[in-house]
């Protein structure tokens, strides 16, 4: 399975600022995904990022708030913009390998004060 790393592993940010989260994979993958896990909740898909095209956002998530870059087949970034305390969550990236399963990074734990 792919080895996925994320930076930073955690951060505490002030409201109104932005944070960019990096996701690095040890092999080339076509599709990368970004999820949010709010405290005590399940995972919710934010967007799907394909290399060379615009990210596809799920209902309730917009590009202005969560801009995503996918410059190559092993790397992606998610920015959480103009943060508020409601953005405090764990943010995870994942990749597809094989036909179906996804493998997840360790997550970035974000606290907004």
């Amino acid at each position: 399975s792919a080895v996925i790393s994320q930076k930073p592993s955690r951060d505490i940010c002030q409201r109104g600022t932005s944070l960019t989260i990096q996701c690095q994979v040890d092999s080339q993958v076509t599709m990368m995904f970004w999820y949010r896990q709010q405290p005590g909740q399940s995972l919710t898909l934010i967007a799907t990022a394909n290399q060379g095209s615009e990210a596809t956002y799920e209902s309730g998530f917009v590009i202005d708030k969560f801009p995503i870059s996918r410059p190559n087949l092993t790397f992606s970034t998610l920015t959480v913009s103009n943060m508020s305390p409601e953005d405090s969550s764990i943010y995870l990236c994942s990749v597809t390998q094989g036909s179906y399963e996804q493998y997840f990074g360790p997550g970035t734990r974000l606290t907004v004060t």
Binding site: S42, S99, Y100, E101, Q102, P106
Partner: protein
């Protein structure tokens, strides 16, 4: 559209006794189903997957799950719980919509294992 219902938010068992975590799904297409485990402050780990092959699927750490189409269920079982099994378990359905495999997560079941 697809959805997943995990019937128990918390399950508590004694070490050495069987584990049953229940999951029902709904899907307009032929689904792929997964169980993931999340230990405290750790990432998500794939336990097992069903992708239209054998209906009884064996995973890591002694877990298995049976796909029952007539019951739209994919319950996770283990014959004998171990303390290290204490974690959050997520049942997940995946459907290939042409834009890729989208995962829909259940709300999770917190498994507690007591001595």
């Amino acid at each position: 559209a697809q959805s997943v219902t995990q019937l128990d938010s918390h399950v508590s068992v004694s070490e050495g006794t069987p584990v049953l975590l229940r999951c029902n799904y709904s899907s307009s297409y032929s689904p792929s189903l997964f169980w993931y485990v999340q230990h405290p402050n750790k990432g998500l780990q794939l336990l097992l997957k069903y992708t239209s092959a054998a209906t009884l699927v064996k995973g890591i750490n002694g877990f298995e799950a049976e796909f029952k189409k007539s019951e739209t269920s994919f319950h996770l079982t283990k014959p004998s719980a171990h303390m290290s099994d204490a974690a959050e378990y997520f049942c997940v359905v995946s459907v290939n919509t042409g834009g890729g495999n989208k995962l829909t997560f259940g709300t999770g079941t917190q498994l507690k294992v007591e001595l």
